[in-house]
C-alpha cells in the first residue's frame, strides 16, 4: 500500500497548501461585514470545469495508485513470473507522447484563435491516441500468441488489467475529444472551444503520465526501488 499512501501524501500536500491560502486561522465570529477586506478567500475565478477536471484526475490517480499498490503486494508471492515486455510498447509510448504534443499544440492554437490549426491538432491528437489503442491491442495479441494468457500467471493478469483500464480511460477521453472536435468544426464560440481543448489536453497529459508510470512498473524497472521500500517497511 506504500504507493497509494505516497499518492495520498501528495493529495494531502496539495489540499494543505490550498487550505493554507484560505485563512483557516480566521475568527469568523469577529469578522462581520463586507468580504472585500479578505483577499483571495472568495470562490476562485477559474472555470469550474477545470477544477472539476482536476478533482476527477485525482480520482483517476487514486485508482491507478491502488492498482499498482495491489501489483506490488501481489508481486511478493512466489508464483510471480515477470512478463517479457513487448517491444511494440516503446512505439506505443512514442505515439502517446505525440498525441499529447498534438493536444498541447491545439491549446496553443486555441489561445491564438487559429481555428484551422486547432482542428488539425485535435484530429492528429485523436488519430494518434487511437493508434495507441491499436498498438496496445497488438501488444496483447503478441503476448497471447507467445502463451502469456490472462490466467497463466498473476503478472499477466495485472498486465492485462492495468493496460486495459488505462486503455478504457483513453477510450473515454476519445469520446470527449470527439465532442470537442465536432464543436471546433461547427465553429463554436472561441472561449468555449478553448476551454474544451484545454480540458482535453489536461486529461491527455495526465493519462500520458499515468502510462509512463505504469510502463515503468510493468516493465520491471522499478524493482530495485521496490526492494528498497520493502526493506524500509520490514
Amino acid at each position: 500500500m506504500s504507493i497509494v499512501l505516497g499518492f495520498m501524501a501528495v493529495v494531502v500536500g496539495i489540499a494543505a497548501w490550498w487550505l493554507s491560502q484560505q485563512r483557516l486561522m480566521a475568527k469568523p465570529w469577529l469578522e462581520t461585514g463586507n468580504v472585500d477586506a479578505y483577499p483571495r478567500t472568495e470562490s476562485g475565478s477559474m472555470p469550474p470545469a477545470k477544477i472539476g477536471m482536476g478533482v476527477f484526475l485525482a480520482v483517476v490517480g487514486s485508482l491507478f495508485a491502488l492498482f499498482t499498490s495491489a501489483y506490488f503486494m501481489r508481486m511478493g508471492f512466489t508464483d510471480w513470473r515477470s512478463l517479457p515486455v513487448p517491444r511494440i510498447l516503446w512505439l506505443n509510448t512514442f505515439i502517446l507522447v505525440l498525441s499529447s504534443v498534438a493536444l498541447h499544440c491545439a491549446v496553443l492554437a486555441a489561445r491564438n484563435r487559429r481555428d484551422d490549426l486547432v482542428r488539425l491538432a485535435l484530429v492528429t491528437g485523436g488519430m494518434t491516441a487511437f493508434a495507441f489503442l491499436i498498438g496496445q491491442w497488438l501488444a496483447w495479441r503478441e503476448l497471447t500468441a507467445s502463451g502469456h494468457f490472462l490466467t497463466a500467471n498473476p503478472a499477466n493478469s495485472f498486465f492485462y488489467l492495468i493496460t486495459g483500464m488505462h486503455g478504457l480511460h483513453i477510450l473515454g477521453g476519445l469520446v470527449g475529444l470527439g465532442t470537442v472536435t465536432a464543436r471546433a468544426w461547427r465553429g463554436a464560440a472561441a472561449d468555449r472551444l478553448r476551454l474544451g481543448v484545454e480540458l482535453c489536453a489536461m486529461y491527455w497529459h495526465f493519462l500520458l503520465f499515468v502510462w509512463l508510470f505504469v510502463f515503468v512498473i510493468l516493465a520491471g524497472w522499478a524493482e530495485g526501488f521496490i526492494e528498497i521500500c520493502r526493506a524500509l517497511l520490514t
Binding site: 500500500m1 469568523p28 465570529w29 469577529l30 469578522e31 468580504v35 477586506a37 480520482v59 490472462l150
Partner: protein, 590 residues
C-alpha cells in the same frame, strides 16, 4: 473587534457572482423525473435510499427472528441467514447512509447553504442519480437471481465469497453485487465532483470558507474522502470479478473444494482485505463527518447559541478526514499481521479519538448555558451525542489489538459498530429530516407523531444494542445463524437474544409511523413559514418556500457574517441571518 479594513487589495473579488447556466425544464418529465435541479435530485436520492433502506430493515427483522427464536422459522436456512446479513450490511452502509448523506443532504443543502443557484454541473448531477438507481436495481435483481443474493458477508472476503459453499458464490449473486458496487462508485464519483466543485467555485459573494456552516464542511470533507477512498473498493470489485469470471488468481489461493483442487493458485486474500478496508475505514467517516456537521448546526440553532470553537470544529473535521486514511488495518488485527503493524494502527486509531473528542466537547460546551429548545431535531441531536460517545468508547476498546482479538468474533463488535455507525448517523438523519422538512415542503412534520417516533427509536435502539454488548462479552459469536448447545452460554444469553429481537420489531414499526408522518405532513402538516426555527444560514432566507428553480429568486444573497450569530447581545432578534449587513460592535466581547 478585529480591524477588517486591512490593506489587502491585491485581489479584488468581482462584484457580481458568475451565473450558472441553468437548464430550464420544459416539460413534466424534465421537471420532476429527468430533472437537473439539485433539489429534485436530492429528493430522488433520498427516496430511493429510504426505499432500499426499508428492504434492509426487513432483512434485519428476519435475522432477529432467527437469532431470537432459533429453529422456529423453517424458511430461514443458514444460507438465507447469511444472505440477509450480507445484504443488510451492504445496503445500510453504502446504499442508504452514503447515498442519503451525500446524494440526499449534499444535493439539497450545498447549493442552498453556500448561496448557489444549483450544482456546477447539473447534467452530470442528474446522471449521478440515474446511475445510482441502476446500481440499486442491479442489487435488487440479485434477490431474484437463481441462487439468490450473495451471502459472503458485507465485507465480501475472498476466497469464500466466490466459492460454491457460499450462497451466490458460483451463481449470479456475487457478480451482481460487484457490478452494482462498481456502478454505485461511478455514479457517486459524478455526484461527488459536483459537491466538491460547487463548494470550491460556486459560493456566493462574501461566503468565505470560514463562514460556511459546518454542515457544508462535513459534507465537503466527506465527499473528498469518498472520491479518494471509493476507488479502492472499485479496484477490489474489478479484481474479484476477474477472479470469479475469468479465472485469474489475484485474491484466490490454491484451494481444495469438496476434494477437488481448483484452478486458482497463489493469490492473496489479505490483499483484498487491504483494499477493502482502505475504502472501508474512510467510509465510516464518510458517513460520520456529514453527521458531525449537521449535528453542529442543529445544536447551535436549537440552543440559540453560536457553535463553540468553530475553528476547532473545522480543523477537527479536516484532521479526522486525513487521519482516517491511515487506520484501515485496525479492521484486520485478526488477519495475522506483523505485531509492529498492529501497534502502528492501534496508535493511529487512538490518535483519531482526539479530534473526535474535541468535537464532542464543543457540542457539549455549545449546549452549556444555551437557551435549549427541546424540539424534535434537538432531541435527535442530543441523542446522537450520547450514542456517539457510547459507540466511540467501545471503539477505544476494540482499537487495541489485545482487546480486539478475543472480542473480534463476538456480538460485542456488532453492538459497537451499530451504535457508532448505525444508530448514531441514523439519529442525525432523522433530526436533519425534521429540521429541513419545513424547507423542502413548507410544512412542519407532526409534533406528536415525531415525539413518539423519537422516544421509541432512541430508547428502543438502546434496548437493542446495550444488551448486545453484554451478550458479546459473554462470548456469543457473531455470524452464527444458530447457537445450538453451547455449554458456555447461560440461559440469560438466550433470553436476552429473544428480548433484543422483540425490541428490534418495535423499533422497526416505529419507523412506519415516521414514514406515515413524512407523507401525511406534505398536505396536512402545520404551515411552517420560511424560517420556522429562526435560523441564520442561507437556505432559510430564500424568497420562496420550498425554494424554486434557481434557489434565490432574482438576486443571489450577499453574505456578511458567519452562520452562528445567535443571541448576539444588542441585536434586535436572537438571530442574525448571514445575509444581513451591519455590525454590533459594542457587545461583541469574545
Amino acid at each position: 473587534m478585529v480591524d477588517i479594513t486591512q490593506s489587502g487589495a491585491e485581489h479584488v473579488p468581482p462584484a457580481e457572482v458568475g451565473e450558472v447556466d441553468l437548464y430550464h425544464p420544459h416539460s413534466w418529465w424534465t421537471k420532476y423525473v429527468f430533472s437537473q435541479d439539485a433539489k429534485v435530485i436530492a429528493i430522488q436520492y433520498s427516496g430511493t435510499a429510504i426505499a432500499i433502506g426499508m428492504v434492509a430493515l426487513v432483512l434485519s427483522w428476519l435475522m432477529r427472528l432467527q437469532l431470537g427464536f432459533p429453529g422456529t422459522f423453517d424458511f430461514i436456512t443458514p444460507e438465507a441467514y447469511y444472505q440477509f446479513i450480507t445484504m443488510h450490511g451492504m445496503i445500510m452502509v453504502v446504499y442508504l447512509l452514503t447515498a442519503l448523506f451525500l446524494g440526499g443532504f449534499g444535493n439539497y443543502l450545498i447549493p442552498l447553504m453556500v448561496g448557489a443557484r444549483d450544482m456546477v454541473f447539473p447534467y452530470v448531477n442528474m446522471l449521478s442519480y440515474w446511475i445510482y438507481l441502476l446500481a440499486v436495481l442491479v442489487l435488487v435483481a440479485s434477490f431474484f437471481a437463481p441462487g439468490g443474493p450473495t451471502g459472503a458477508g458485507w465485507t465480501l472476503y475472498p476466497p469464500q465469497a466466490i466459492m460454491t459453499g457460499t450462497p451466490g458464490g458460483q451463481d449470479a449473486g456475487i457478480v451482481l453485487m460487484l457490478v452494482s458496487l462498481a456502478l454505485f462508485i461511478i455514479g457517486f464519483t459524478m455526484g461527488g465532483l459536483n459537491y466538491v466543485v460547487t463548494v470550491l467555485q460556486g459560493r456566493t459573494r462574501g461566503m468565505t470558507l470560514m463562514r460556511m456552516p459546518l454542515t457544508v464542511w462535513g459534507i465537503f470533507t466527506a465527499t473528498v474522502m469518498a472520491l479518494l477512498a471509493f476507488p479502492a473498493l472499485f479496484v477490489a470489485c474489478i479484481m474479484m470479478l476477474f477472479d470469479r469470471l475469468l479465472g485469474t488468481s489475484f485474491f484466490m489461493p490454491s484451494i481444495v473444494e469438496a476434494g477437488e483442487q481448483l484452478a486458482y493458485g497463489g493469490g492473496s486474500p489479505i490483499l483484498f482485505q487491504h483494499l477493502f478496508w482502505f475504502f472501508g475505514h474512510p467510509e465510516v467517516y464518510i458517513v460520520a463527518l456529514p453527521a458531525f456537521g449537521i449535528v453542529s448546526d442543529l445544536i447551535s440553532t436549537h440552543a440559540r447559541k453560536n457553535i463553540f470553537g468553530y475553528r476547532m470544529m473545522v480543523w477537527a473535521i479536516v484532521g479526522i478526514g486525513a487521519l482516517s486514511f491511515i487506520v484501515w488495518a485496525h479492521h484486520m488485527y485478526v488477519s495475522g499481521m506483523h505485531p509492529y503493524f498492529g501497534f502502528f494502527f492501534a496508535t493511529t486509531t487512538l490518535i483519531i479519538a482526539v479530534p473526535t473528542a474535541i468535537k464532542v466537547y464543543n457540542w457539549v460546551l455549545t449546549l452549556w448555558r444555551g437557551d435549549i429548545h427541546l424540539t424534535i431535531p434537538m432531541l435527535f441531536a442530543l441523542a446522537f451525542i450520547v450514542t456517539f460517545v457510547n459507540g466511540g468508547l467501545t471503539g477505544l476498546f476494540l482499537g487495541n489489538v489485545v482487546v480486539d482479538v478475543p472480542l473480534s468474533d463476538t456480538m460485542f463488535v456488532v453492538a459497537h459498530f451499530h451504535m457508532v455507525m448505525g444508530v448514531a448517523p441514523i439519529l442525525v438523519i432523522f433530526g436533519a429530516i425534521y429540521h429541513w422538512y419545513p424547507k423542502m415542503t413548507g410544512r412542519l412534520l407532526d409534533e406528536t407523531l415525531g415525539r413518539f417516533h423519537f422516544w421509541v427509536t432512541f430508547v428502543g435502539a438502546y434496548l437493542i444494542f446495550f444488551p448486545m454488548h453484554y451478550v458479546g462479552l459473554m462470548g456469543v459469536p457473531r455470524r452464527y445463524s444458530e447457537l445450538g448447545d453451547m455449554s458456555l452460554l447461560t440461559d440469560s444469553a438466550h433470553s436476552l437474544n429473544a428480548f433484543i429481537s422483540i425490541m428490534a420489531f418495535i423499533v422497526g414499526f416505529a419507523q412506519l409511523v415516521f414514514l406515515f408522518n413524512l407523507i401525511w405532513s406534505i398536505r396536512h402538516g402545520k404551515d411552517a413559514g420560511p424560517n420556522p426555527w429562526r435560523a441564520t444560514s442561507l437556505e432559510w432566507q430564500t424568497a420562496e418556500t420550498p425554494p424554486t428553480h434557481g434557489n434565490f429568486g432574482k438576486e443571489l444573497p450577499v453574505v456578511y457574517r458567519w452562520a452562528y450569530d445567535y443571541s448576539v447581545p444588542g441585536a434586535k432578534e436572537d438571530f442574525i441571518p448571514q445575509n444581513e449587513p451591519g455590525t454590533y460592535p459594542a457587545a461583541r466581547g469574545h
